[in-house]
């Protein structure tokens, strides 16, 4: 079976985002960018499905600027078979991304879409759910374990209060939580091999999808700063300070 894995190029998770002085957004000039950590987990899971003989082909898709090609190459070096880059200079909203991915699914006919539960830039946690809704497929979000057998998948999900296990018919959309797996590092030979793998480049216009923004960003601001705290010398001192603050 074929597995489609959407990946996103985002600010590296270790970088502290800085808000632009003119409040139009976050400054991404000269900032280290990487694959969204949840997308790495999704790629890893798809590659493991291939290693188990469940998946026959792992197709990586990314929507973004030309540099998103590097993100696709990383996924190919981890074990993806080929890539699709849909170039867009605009930062598309989840609704537009879900519609574009639905169009890619219509072309590629995968049996499974595995993707991250959220991107660490927009923190929306929406695209996977929206994609499955647009396709009329079942969804299993926040997966911490995935077991594909025949035409169904058994997915354990991280929910508030514990874990829930669902059984979904394929095709389905699965979104990966942190605990699904530990993504591998791409080895140097695999990075070299990935350079030869095919990446098809497309434009948003090729898909005839309405990607007009529905949300207008009025401003982006820094969160209120916490005032500087104090260091206390002893536990007793701490308790008396907390008593004074009225929080005990």
């Amino acid at each position: 079976m074929k597995v489609l894995v959407p990946v996103k190029r985002v600010i590296d998770y270790n970088v502290k985002a800085r808000v632009k002085a003119d409040q139009t957004g976050v400054d991404l000039a000269n900032v280290k960018m990487s694959m969204n950590p949840f997308c790495e987990i999704a790629v890893e899971e798809a590659v493991r499905l291939k290693e188990k003989g469940v998946a026959t082909e792992v197709v990586i898709v990314s929507i973004g600027p030309a540099q998103a090609q590097e993100t696709i190459r990383t996924a190919l070096a981890m074990g993806g078979d080929r890539g699709i880059l849909i170039t867009s200079d605009a930062d598309l909203e989840p609704l537009a991304v879900a519609k574009l991915l639905a169009a890619v699914v219509a072309e590629e006919n995968p049996n499974l879409v595995v993707m991250g539960k959220q991107a660490i830039d927009g923190d929306n946690n929406a695209v996977g759910q929206m994609l499955s809704a647009l396709l009329g497929w079942p969804q299993a979000t926040y997966a911490s374990a995935l077991e594909v057998s025949g035409s169904t998948a058994k997915v354990t999900r991280e929910v508030d209060g514990g874990l829930q296990t669902l059984d979904v018919d394929l095709p389905a959309v699965i979104t990966a939580d942190l605990r699904l797996n530990e993504p591998r590092y791409a080895s140097l030979p695999n990075i070299m091999k990935a350079k030869k793998k095919e990446i098809a480049t497309k434009a948003v216009a090729d898909y005839g999808v309405d990607v007009a923004p529905r949300l207008k960003v009025l401003k982006v601001t820094e969160p209120p700063k916490r005032s500087a705290g104090v260091k206390v010398e002893t536990a007793a001192d701490l308790v008396s300070k907390l008593n004074t603050a009225g929080v005990l």
């Binding site: 759910q129 923004p213 916490r226 206390v232 701490l238």
Partner: protein
Amino acid sequence: MAVLVIADNDNAHLRDATHKTVTAAQKISGDVDVLVLGKGAKAVADAAAKIAGVRKVLLAESDALGHGIAEAQADAVLALAGNYDAILVPATSGGKNFAPRVAAKLDVAPISDIVEVVSADTFTRPIYAGNALETIQSSDAKKVITVRPTAFAAAAEGGSASVESVAGADAGKTRFVSEEMVKSDRPELAAAKIVVSGGRAMGSAEEFQRVIEPLADKLGAAVGASRAAVDAGYAPNDYQVGQTGKVVAPQLYVAIGISGAIQHLAGMKDSKVIVAINKDADAPIFQVADYGLVADYKTAVPELMDALSAAGK
């Protein structure tokens, strides 16, 4: 203009996140209805009817809704969506699971995890792990919004809305298999007034329980953990506070042996008072802590327990 709030519940109890979402809804419109999705959830609907200012409560029940299956939840909401201008869902794991599905079917942009209602079409939400706040204006006629419960006060009790039953929905191509819930007598993490969290420094699950749990019990606090502690198996996943775990904003947050990575801070930096106990004086957690104690938790926590006893706690 009317707003539909989807209740957070476990079929038996109405959760506090619902009251907070009602507060957000009331900033959009005075006409607020609550929809309870569940199975055998009449008591939940009755509890929702007591929230002050709620116009009416709708109760949709089916097996799939009782198990929180997203396909069924979205379908039940969509059946009623025609009557409302906005649909507000608590940003819990259950709410985040089905709300975007509703939005996609309505062809509207979902608005995730709002922390402020600026006006009926303009909202503020955190992005980049809480390192920036964006204010966005929606051009969609109908809005689907998830609400960060910790950012809003709970709506008061004192209402007497009517409860009416509406159609349930089925799960389509999804089947519930099982669930495994963490049993805890402590307050619920997301709603607790005090949270005591432990990090990697604990070194083992036994040590985590030995150090963190008695202190939490003494303070009547919920127990939290950093991702490092959860990944290492010291605490269950459900305890994780942070960008990918729970977002909490208690009166008092006590971080023990937690360095304070960006992703952890995203989940707790709106706490009223933050206390950090860490032996590394340069740990980033001290930059957000109101009170910092540079000490090994092995000596500091017993001393803290004694000091609390001395203070009559």
